[in-house]
């Protein structure tokens, strides 16, 4: 039975990609990169434009502007009226949307392969020709505040996550929520949006990713035609965020709310991310997360806490190495009824220590590696999943070569690598431990 709290966690075994023969890339003269993933199973194409600009690139005090600008990109250009972009996609039987993360903003359409050119033409248009009115901005700001209401302020677990993340980063902007702190988001202006747009939305800061029933030559020709004429930005900022100072003191926080149904404890440690040309430590942490808390039934935490001791109704370990800057390694325990958060945390610490002392179960390691291999096969089934993987890797500091090498780097991870990575990451001075509690039941 899958537990509801599984939704807390990013799936770790998410399609590692290898260098497939069907993945090709090119770069236009203005600096725009292109990646093409050919898949001729059905006459469909996914067209995506990724910008190397996300919430962590925002100016101080303007939190939420990357995301609000994403909304505003649907509000019209010199050539398209507000809403006409999506209306045109729909009139061609397609669907479109966009998303903002800390390291990137991406726009996509899913359409019949023979409509690709129109999509590229419209994306090229809004890369440089955005036109938004003061009124559009004010209405959309209300929408964004309702989005924050719905997804964060109405959800104690999301509020708790926001507080924990803010405590995790002492200096780096990853501590700031993507949707923005309310007091800042409600003051964002048209000028703020346009300033961010003019700084970051340019061909030399963008990556085109096209997956589906197309050929690389055709996509490149269309890209030359529509994106090629766009002027590159000459003053694109160097992408270097402020970094973290040494973490010297453990942080602990308790959050209680009337609306909490199920208390839990979550601890995250600052952890290294995948970097171009050096992914082995991240690979070791990826496998560590699987061994410790990947499967509820067979992982070390799951076996001990959910089965042997029945202290937890759910437990997990999570790590996502794909991040431009330092990421986190996390542990979660949802205690069984009548188990206190203190007892749950003590049990977690005891079981993790036990894991570190014992030799690694080689059968379990073999099963995990088999699953990683298989996820590559299953991953090829989804165009959008493939396009996402490449777009996010390239906007988070990796190259196609790193993406190609990743499965081999994972396969090469040894017991010693895992123990060494664990010893380094499990340092309480760089950890945030949070307790989510019911109001009136604070411990």
């Amino acid at each position: 039975m899958k537990h509801i709290f599984a939704a807390l966690i990013l799936s770790v075994i998410a399609a590692p990609l290898s260098a497939q023969d069907n993945v090709k890339s090119f770069t236009l003269a203005n600096g725009m990169e292109g990646v093409v993933i050919e898949d001729h199973r059905s006459p469909v194409v996914v067209n995506m434009v990724w910008y190397r600009a996300g919430a962590a690139d925002e100016p101080r005090g303007k939190s939420g502007i990357a995301h609000m600008l994403e909304h505003l990109l649907f509000k019209g250009t010199e050539n398209l009226a507000p809403g006409e972009f999506s209306k045109t996609v729909a009139a061609n039987g397609g669907s479109d949307n966009a998303f903002t993360a800390k390291d990137y903003t991406a726009y996509f359409q899913r359409v019949a392969a023979d409509r690709l050119e129109l999509m590229m033409k419209m994306e090229a248009d809004r890369m440089r020709n955005l036109r938004i009115s003061e009124e559009d901005v004010l209405t959309e700001r209300d929408v964004v505040l309702e989005e924050r209401n719905q997804r964060t302020d109405s959800d104690p677990s999301a509020l708790f996550g926001e507080q924990r993340t803010a405590a995790q980063y002492l200096n780096h902007p990853y501590g700031i929520p993507i949707i923005g702190w309310r007091h800042e988001a409600e003051k964002l202006s048209r000028a703020d949006a346009l300033a961010f747009y003019e700084t970051y939305y340019s061909p030399n800061n963008a990556i085109l990713v096209v997956a589906g029933d197309v050929t690389t030559a055709d996509v490149q020709a269309l890209a030359e035609k529509h994106f090629g004429p766009l002027e590159p930005s000459l003053d694109l900022p160097v992408r270097a965020r402020v970094s973290e100072p040494p973490h010297l003191a453990e942080r602990r926080l308790k959050f209680s709310d009337e609306r909490v149904a199920q208390p839990y404890i979550i601890r995250s440690y600052l952890a290294p991310e995948r970097n171009a040309g050096e992914q082995s430590e991240a690979a070791a942490l990826t496998i560590l997360a699987e061994l410790l808390g990947g499967s509820s039934q067979t992982s070390f935490l799951g076996k001990r806490l959910q089965f042997d001791e029945q202290i937890a109704v759910y437990s997990s370990a999570f790590y996502s190495g794909q991040s431009l800057d330092a990421t986190t390694f996390g542990l979660v325990v949802v205690p069984a009824a009548n188990v206190s958060l203190q007892d749950a945390e003590d049990a977690l610490d005891r079981v993790v220590a036990e894991f570190l002392e014992q030799p690694i179960n080689q059968e379990q390691m073999g099963r995990i590696k088999q699953q990683i291999k298989a996820s590559e096969i299953y991953g090829r089934d989804s165009l959008r999943g493939l396009a996402n993987s490449y777009g996010s890797a390239l906007t988070q500091g990796l190259t196609l070569k790193d993406v190609a090498a990743w499965p081999e780097v994972l396969a090469a991870v040894t017991e010693e690598d895992i123990k060494a990575a664990a010893a380094k990451v499990f340092d309480r001075r760089q950890a945030v431990t949070g307790w989510l509690m019911r109001k009136g039941e604070e411990q």
Partner: protein, 436 residues
């Protein structure tokens, strides 16, 4: 993300398929029928199996039995306990999904070609001889209880549960399929065995498959996998009578944003005017950004992040409902706008331009719905359980195109009844009166 609509909007029951797709009917020696799309370029297969009936077969006083039973299928079989079973599945890198819905129990499997026989043998044991040992029952019960508790504090769940309860009363559709804290506590091993026998029988199976498998291989696989299930299960549930009147129910809940579920009785999916209703809902609140509700409530007024409506046509009861979240001080305005739109649609239907744009979208989007083996397998199962024939994909767009403005006007009058409109609002909305 620019839009994030809740699960509500995925409930449209127009079955889907793609035009360029070749669907084969496969009949096994043991009497199973499956629809198959062969696709050998990636070495795995997706198989989707649906047992009609689902959680609505829960016996009186045993609400949650089918759901708990399905949750226990992966928790051990024969001499394997939950951990042994998971280890075996993980070692094969097979993925098995077991889900209970209102009208079905669904099994979705993804299996690598290289070890498919072993994966089928493992899945067979889970389906045919689940262990239901007490330790697992207790553990999964505590997980279900934790979910029930979480849902009880979630404004969206509170609103839809209250709407369903008022709409369908004592019928299983009137309560959550997880059951209640008390009903789940009372379930024992015998209840689970009965639920398994009632819900997972050969007389109610629909099968879709897509991927790296031939028709002969699939036929043999199905006989192995399903041949030892009981021949006959429990009779289907009775029709659920719609019991709700118009008005507003306010459920006080401390939160900055109210959630509203609104609507009234819907339409059967076998109704002659279902296609017209489907198009009407698409324009009204089903089309995401292009819908009237999104345009009026979000784009023009900034009152919400998302609003949508859907034809919730279950096998034994139907709703036409929507959902929206808005700040407590703006919900009253949302309700006014929604009611006005409901009335406008009932009175004047669609414009020629709206109908034409909807047809263009729906017919153009149809072939794109095939996105990979897992999706296709699910679509094939859905088509069969809805009673559509195998050639349906070739005629579906013609049926959409055949809908006229007169059809729309007729269904608009019948389907959209502002005088029956009920809102269930969870939160602390300003100036919204409870009429109960």
């Amino acid at each position: 993300m620019r839009i994030f609509l809740t699960a509500l909007s995925t409930l449209i029951l127009i079955p889907l398929s793609a035009l360029a797709i070749d669907i084969q009917e496969v009949k096994s020696k043991g009497g199973f029928t499956a629809w198959l799309v062969e696709e050998h370029s990636i070495p795995f297969v997706s198989i989707d199996i649906s047992f009609k009936g689902g959680a609505s077969l829960d016996l009186p006083g045993k609400r949650g039995a089918t759901n708990l039973m399905v949750g226990l299928l992966e928790e051990g079989t024969g001499d394997m306990d939950a951990r042994d079973f998971a280890a075996a599945a993980e070692g094969l890198a097979a993925s098995f999904g077991f889900d209970a819905y209102n009208d079905s129990v669904s099994i979705s499997a993804k299996m690598l070609t290289e070890n498919r026989d072993q994966a089928v043998a493992l899945l067979r044991r889970a389906l045919i001889e689940p262990r239901f040992d007490q330790v697992s029952i207790d553990r999964v019960k505590s997980q279900v209880q934790s979910i029930i508790l979480s849902d009880s504090k979630n404004p969206e769940d509170i609103a839809s549960r209250a709407f369903s309860a008022a709409a369908f009363g004592d019928h299983p559709y009137g309560s959550g399929l997880n059951g209640t804290e008390e009903s789940v506590e009372g379930l024992n091993r015998d209840d689970l065995i009965a639920a398994h026998h009632n819900a997972m029988a050969q007389d109610r199976i629909f099968i879709g498959a897509s991927g790296d498998i031939t028709p002969d291989e699939l036929a043999a696989l199905l006989d192995d996998l399903l041949g030892d299930l009981p021949a006959v299960g429990a009779p289907m549930p009775k029709q659920a009578e719609y019991q709700l009147t118009n008005g507003v129910t306010v459920i006080p809940y401390e939160t900055p944003q109210s959630v509203a579920v609104f609507g009234h009785q819907g339409i059967e999916r076998h109704d002659d005017d279902f296609f017209a209703a489907f198009i009407l809902n698409h324009v009204f609140g089903g089309a995401g950004f292009e819908s009237r509700l999104m345009s009026e409530v979000r784009e023009k007024r900034g009152l919400t992040y998302g609003i949508g409506s859907s034809l919730y046509s279950l096998d034994h009861g139907q709703l036409f409902i929507g959902q929206v979240a808005s700040s407590n001080d703006r919900m009253a305005e949302v309700i006014t706008v929604v009611t006005d739109e409901w009335t406008r649609m009932a009175e004047s239907g669609l414009t020629a331009e709206e109908l034409s744009a909807a047809k263009t979208f729906l017919t153009g989007a149809y072939p794109l719905r095939f996105d990979g083996n897992s999706r296709i397998a699910g679509i094939l199962t859905g088509m069969q359980s809805t009673g559509l024939d195998i050639a349906y994909p070739d005629t579906r767009n013609d049926k959409v195109n055949a809908v006229t403005l007169a059809d729309i006007a007729r269904i608009a009058k019948r389907l959209m009844r502002p005088e029956d409109l009920r809102y269930v609002v969870v939160g602390q909305p300003d100036d919204v009166e409870n009429t109960d």
